[in-house]
Amino acid sequence: MSKIMDFDRIEKRARQTALIRNIVVYGLLGLWALVVLFPFYWMLLTSVKSQGAYASEIVPQLYTLSPTMQNYLQVFTEADLGRYFANTLIFTVLTTALMLGVTVLAAFAFARLDFPGKNLAFVLFLALMMIPSELVVITNFVTMKNAHLDNTFLGLILPSVSSVFYIYLLKENFAQIPDELYYAAKVDATSDLKYLRKVMIPICRPTIVTVLILKVIECWNSYIWPRLITDDPKMFLVSGGIQQIRESGYGRDNIPAMMAAVVAVSVPLILLFLIFHKKIMAGVARGGTKG
């Protein structure tokens, strides 16, 4: 009889410890989620407060009862945010498109074609992955400046195109396609380019989409190269533009408007993330690093 009682007590205690452990774990995880989300909440909140209301708050209010869209209007009309958006859009689309063309062709050559020196070339390509961008930016800056390509889209885009990692990623994926498909296509007298277009690209679409999204994120957030090669505010991308809004004094005087700009810059990528979060996270886990 006492034995059975003991089991009951042990079970009860085990349940209790599990419950306490769960509360602690969920509590701490929730706390970190709060730390991650709070800056986003704060930018959104501040961006809908009117300038006067914000300035009169000595202790910042955690909510507002009179939201206004005035700041968004202002920051697009007074601070040229629209132009930064257009620049970034052009830069992102062209860079990503060029990158995709270059990457697909190179990955196809490495995965499907045979030519002398292929293995050596592939090893050299992989070695390039280890080159830190800080080292090459200096010469690129001098090259582009001397070619008078500063403050042009060409100067922005050209050095941002090549990504060895994506060539590697796509080559690995291409190589998984069975050789028989290629021979069958050859028997039917299909050209290499047609085989690439009609067979390989459709099969590897998921990887290509992942590469595309990662490159778009990289382009949208790029700051260092655009900042170096453009000094005309008319050519700034969103990162440089938001810095310009702050440095020019406009943002420091009108913090709600600056936060409206911050929200506007953040929203496109957050939307992209919400739609593709599984793909993005899987792609990054496979070996992407920031920047």
Partner: protein, 297 residues
């Protein structure tokens, strides 16, 4: 045969052009620049060859300030973010409900614009004449005197920079660690539990050895990333980092390279970039040597 070999190289040609022009050539050139003395941007000529650029950079107080800041940043953020990421990942892998939601939320900073969100951190920590800022209000609850974290004392600015850097780098580490933890074979845990092993011991003897390759991968890439810190500092303290005493080595490179008046000094920038590269290479080699000793299987 001739035709076939030509074809492969033809497909590679665009990649070779881009990589050659914007990666291989600059890589060689940066070493050339760093040894050319008195390089003139406009005429593209140098007066001589020597180590003057290195000695100039090493004697520049701004560079030494940047080195100091970068080392503090590395020493604080790499251990702190790795341990924090490990704790969060362990928490995540011990729950089932809401796990995906938490994972997605935690990854959000990775896709956000560093410059933009940095401004939010700035206004949270800022103390202006009219308002103490939210963080100072929170601190005052605990009886802490308000501190100006953005224009104030050195330690306060460094603290914000470290906090923001950790916030930015954590998503990647959490993501990589949770997938490493998920790939540990359940059998090991079951076997340990049958033997009545305590939770702490399971963690030390099973989990940690199994994820040790991932841990070292994160530590190595963490060191490399932290040594290259720059955008986070710009976001918090503005572009004039030298004045704010918050410059980093990469920031110094760009500062010297980029000059409002036009040219700038590519030779000094190259020397500084190569010094940074040597530091990072040394640390990475040490890391690899340590990891050989400690990574199991």
């Amino acid at each position: 045969m001739e035709n076939k070999s030509m074809k492969g190289w033809l497909y590679l040609l665009p990649a070779i052009l881009f990589l050659g022009l914007f990666m291989v050539y600059p890589l060689i050139d940066v070493f050339v620049y760093s040894f050319e003395e008195g390089y003139d941007f406009v005429s593209q000529t140098a007066e001589g060859v020597g180590l003057f650029n290195y000695s100039y950079v090493l004697h520049d107080p701004y560079f030494m300030q940047a080195v100091k800041n970068t080392f503090i940043l590395v020493a604080v953020t790499v251990p702190a973010s790795t341990v924090l990421a490990l704790l969060i990942s362990l928490g995540l892998s011990s729950i089932t409900r809401l796990r995906n939601l938490f994972q997605t939320v935690y990854f959000l900073p990775y896709v956000s614009n560093t410059l933009a969100v940095g401004l939010v951190f700035m206004i949270l920590f800022d103390k202006t004449d009219s308002a103490p800022g939210l963080i100072n209000v929170l601190l005052s609850i605990f009886g802490v005197e308000p501190v100006d974290f953005i224009d104030g004392p050195y330690w306060a600015k460094m603290l914000v920079l470290c906090l923001y850097t950790i916030w930015v780098v954590l998503p990647f580490k959490i993501l990589v660690l949770t997938s490493a933890l998920a790939s540990v074979d359940e059998t090991y845990y079951k076997a340990a539990r049958v033997d009545g092993t305590s939770k702490a011991r399971i963690f030390r003897k099973v989990t940690l050895p199994m994820i040790s390759p991932t841990m070292f991968y994160l530590i190595i890439t963490g060191f490399i990333g932290a040594f290259k810190a720059y955008s986070d500092a710009v976001a918090l303290f503005g572009e004039n980092l030298n004045v704010a005493e918050m410059n980093t080595i990469v920031g110094y490179v760009y500062e010297v390279l980029y000059d409002e008046a036009g040219g700038g000094y590519p030779s000094f920038a190259s020397a500084a970039a190569i010094i940074l590269f040597v530091i990072v290479l040394t640390i990475t080699c040490i890391n690899l040597m340590v990891s050989k000793k400690h990574v199991h299987y």
